[in-house]
Symmetry: D2
Subunit: 113 residues, 4 copies
């Protein structure tokens, strides 16, 4: 049987995969970045065991890359994400940020909560 720590890590992974693949491709401009940030945070926080979801969308970078219509399609390049999971007495923490030009999802820690 998997340990509580492993299940906490699994749950953290689900949230990242869900968040990324639900919202990647969303049209986003500098002006609409804030509302999308909040919606992503509140949406993923609904999922089981998600104790904290924090999303930062980089409006400056979007403004720089935007096409004539003023927007881009959301990708990992424009987002920093941190998610905390509580499963029984374990807490898993994971982050997504750019590493060597690619958005990388990383399990940061699994600790006794």
């Amino acid at each position: 049987m998997p340990t509580d720590a492993e299940i906490a890590a699994f749950e953290a992974g689900i949230k990242f995969g869900a968040l990324y693949h639900q919202f990647a491709g969303t049209p986003v401009s500098r002006e609409s970045a804030d509302s999308l940030e909040i919606a992503i945070e509140e949406s993923i926080a609904n999922q089981p065991h998600a104790s904290d979801v924090s999303v930062a969308i980089d409006g400056e970078r979007i403004a720089r890359d935007a096409d004539d219509h003023g927007y881009v399609e959301l990708t990992g390049e424009y987002m920093d994400v941190a998610v905390s999971i509580e499963y029984d007495d374990r807490e898993a923490r994971a982050e997504m940020s750019m590493v060597d030009g690619y958005p990388l999802m990383q399990l940061v820690s699994v600790t006794q909560g």
Copy 2:
């Protein structure tokens, strides 16, 4: 060549297909319905020729259908949507609402703007 009226109608269709298939499946609770409404409206309003996007998510219905974790996956059943397109001097208006138990996307009118 297509007429301006036909292009306006085509653009309205794009917005509906985009909105629906980008956001269907998003975890949503009564509490997070408002932020998702705003994010969908502002996101789709970024797209070319979209002059007005109005989304209403039915929090009561979500609360009624929610599982033990308090949320559902967003489907057409929980949304009313209206989109207006301006293309040259034509305005197209389209709506999505429930008809006979299915979410139906309908072109309402194409008029001289």
Copy 3:
């Protein structure tokens, strides 16, 4: 009331928005491009009034752009799409391809079917 030609154009738009926002972000490699092409075609062809859906995913371009893991996330840059709609006695035809570096969805024609 909208004309049949306008409704045919609206339906073509829906298919494009749906196709793009359902599948954008899908992990795709040169090796998996064929199965994704077929799945997209068959999926969108299910939708009402879609008489023909043709998708070409550019495996060479994917191989060129792929990261160390050999894949990219699907965007309009890697796809050519053509969709035909039949609505009553009208046929609408639309295409998506790269124009000036951006994927552009265009209504090509609306004719008597």
Copy 4:
């Protein structure tokens, strides 16, 4: 620092969240279920550390639930999924199936590979 076993579990979670939220909402009929199965398997198998991805879409259930147009939008209700991850010398195995009427993603085992 997380253990290899925890990272393997995290990676399994990512694949499940990705698979579900990328493809939920896809129009699918009994006839198109096979091509969608293959495309999902091959797509997710592209992702890092995914050693096996197995998807079964229930065409009979789709036929039973389909609307007048012969299709449904894909949800967890129509899919059984199993994913294996290899990370260093650890193997994580996870499954999604219906439990009490809800699609449940479960970490089945994390073993020495």
